[in-house]
């Protein structure tokens, strides 16, 4: 399934729609290279889930946690991780017991130490100003979370 975004606002709105409809426990992987819009999409999802105020980049702190009316939200950015085992040093096990929204950027760097995803979102740049989102459903329950119907193939790429 694919969506295409003509501007950052559309990307944020899609993420917000997802954040509003998903139910925890939810594990979402957010993939794509630097500058493709992961920050914008993540901010949308967290805003939709009810995170108030600023959503700062977790690149430096690796994990930011938020308490919302819908439950806890964990925003991870594994960009600086060199080995998944480092997640043990960060105490990732302490978070695994509780139902939460897990939003994980650069999940490929934490392979083997992360919960299984429900959804994989992969962003890329089709052309300047025009970004593409590919969505892979890893669990059936995640199908009902997606906002707006997918864009037709004629809009893709």
């Amino acid at each position: 399934m694919g969506w295409s975004f003509p501007d950052p606002e559309a990307c944020h709105a899609w993420g917000k729609g997802l954040g509003e409809t998903l139910t925890i426990p939810a594990v979402i992987f957010l993939e794509g290279d630097l500058g493709v819009g992961k920050t914008t999409l993540a901010q949308g999802v967290l805003r939709g889930f009810g995170v108030p105020g600023r959503v700062k980049s977790p690149t430096y702190t690796l994990i930011e946690s938020y308490a919302t009316a819908h439950g806890p939200a964990l925003h991870l950015d594994l960009y600086r991780l060199s080995d998944g085992e480092e997640l043990e040093f960060l105490g990732i096990r302490d978070y695994l017991d509780e139902a939460a929204l897990w939003l994980i950027e650069w999940p490929e760097r934490g392979v083997g130490f992360l919960p299984e995803p429900d959804l994989r979102l992969r962003l890329s740049i089709a052309s300047p100003g025009h970004h593409r989102l590919e969505v892979l459903l890893a669990t059936a329950r995640a199908a009902s979370w997606l906002p707006f119907p997918p864009a037709g193939e004629e809009h893709d790429g």
């Binding site: 500058g35 920050t39 980049s57």
Partner: protein, 339 residues
């Protein structure tokens, strides 16, 4: 009074001994790039945030360096930062406090950064402080010890993080911010038109995430880029960040009326930023000159000295340490208690 300072909120592990009469007596630091003999050569990157193994060794080293076995008090970073990393430092501090029978007091990591220029012997308050690093980008009004107001901060990425990520896109190693700055010296800062995020809006907040995407577009357009194009890209990127930071500093000084600017954090070492701020400080539009205050370079990044300093200042100011205190991953600076 001699205060042991302990910092372990993120990657660096730092210890220092500060004397409220005699100043800084000694300090030791372990960072990812600082491979030290006692650790037996190369430390695996895997353990880059493994403070547990480093703290006892660093304490021994500091005790040998200063000749002081037991301080009169312990100050430890209790937040904000990475919860696991903070807990290691605080547990270490509490154990030492119990064993030595000395008080332990919590220190706010960012207050350490803001007050670090005091380690040079000056008390530059009231002032506006720009804290700009890989993890933070914020403007704070500092009226005095414990008296702070947040003026603005980043809505997404920190400036240092933006530098590192742009460097990565160029194919430079992480953290590549300082390397990007070297490339920028040979480039034309006007070669590429990159956005100045939030400059067109009032307020003192920052946003650097959109700049990543703009940088990516510019880079993709010239791929495969020549060395001169890469240098021009680096210079244009640096100019966008520096101009944004400097302009917000100018607004913050105007808004508060203060004539002193403290610049702390790793990006504070950036030459282009220092040059731009020097222009700002001596600008013809100023009624009176603006004084710039930088900590020494080794105190721009995380260190134990700034934590020991804040602990010492608090105790000298009459703070009575509570027997227990929370460790906080997030901790608004305006809620600090001074007594």
């Amino acid at each position: 009074m001699r205060v042991l300072g302990i910092e372990s909120s993120c990657d660096e592990t730092g210890l220092a001994l500060y004397d409220t009469q005699g100043g800084l007596l000694g300090e030791v630091l372990f960072s990812q790039i600082d491979i030290h003999a006692p650790y037996g050569g190369v430390v695996p990157e895997l353990a880059s945030r493994d403070h547990v193994r480093r703290l006892p060794l660093l304490l021994r080293e500091l005790q040998q360096q200063t000749g002081v076995e037991r301080p009169d008090a312990i100050a430890v970073t209790a937040g904000p930062g990475l919860m696991g990393a903070l807990l290691v430092g605080v547990s270490f501090a509490r154990a030492l406090g119990f064993a030595w029978g000395v008080p332990v007091l919590p220190v706010h990591h960012l207050e350490g950064h803001l007050l670090a220029p005091l380690l040079e012997g000056e008390a530059p308050f009231p002032a506006v402080a720009l804290l700009v690093s890989g993890g933070h980008t914020l403007l704070m009004e500092v009226r005095g010890l414990g008296d702070y107001t947040l003026l603005g901060e980043t809505l997404d990425d920190a400036a240092g993080e933006a530098f590192d990520k742009a460097a990565k896109m160029m194919g430079l190693a992480y953290p590549g911010g300082p390397i990007l700055a070297q490339w920028a010296e040979r480039g034309d800062p006007t070669a590429f038109a990159l956005p100045r995020p939030l400059l067109d809006r009032p307020g003192l907040d920052f946003s650097f995430s959109g700049l990543k995407t703009a940088f990516r577009y510019a880079l993709d357009k010239v791929r495969p880029a020549s060395d001169q194009q890469l240098a021009d890209l680096a210079a244009s990127f640096q100019a966008a960040v520096v101009e944004t930071l400097a302009e917000k500093c100018r607004r913050a000084l105007g808004q508060t009326g203060h004539r002193r600017l403290i610049v702390a954090g790793g990006v504070g070492a950036n030459k282009a930023l220092r040059s731009r701020l020097a222009d700002l400080a001596s600008g013809a539009r100023n009624r009176e000159p603006i004084a710039l205050h930088y900590p020494r370079l080794s105190h721009c990044t995380d260190n134990g000295a700034m934590i020991a300093l804040v602990g010492g200042l608090r105790l000298a100011g009459g703070l009575v340490p509570a027997p227990d205190f929370p460790v906080r991953a997030r901790w608004p600076m305006e809620s600090l208690e001074t007594r």
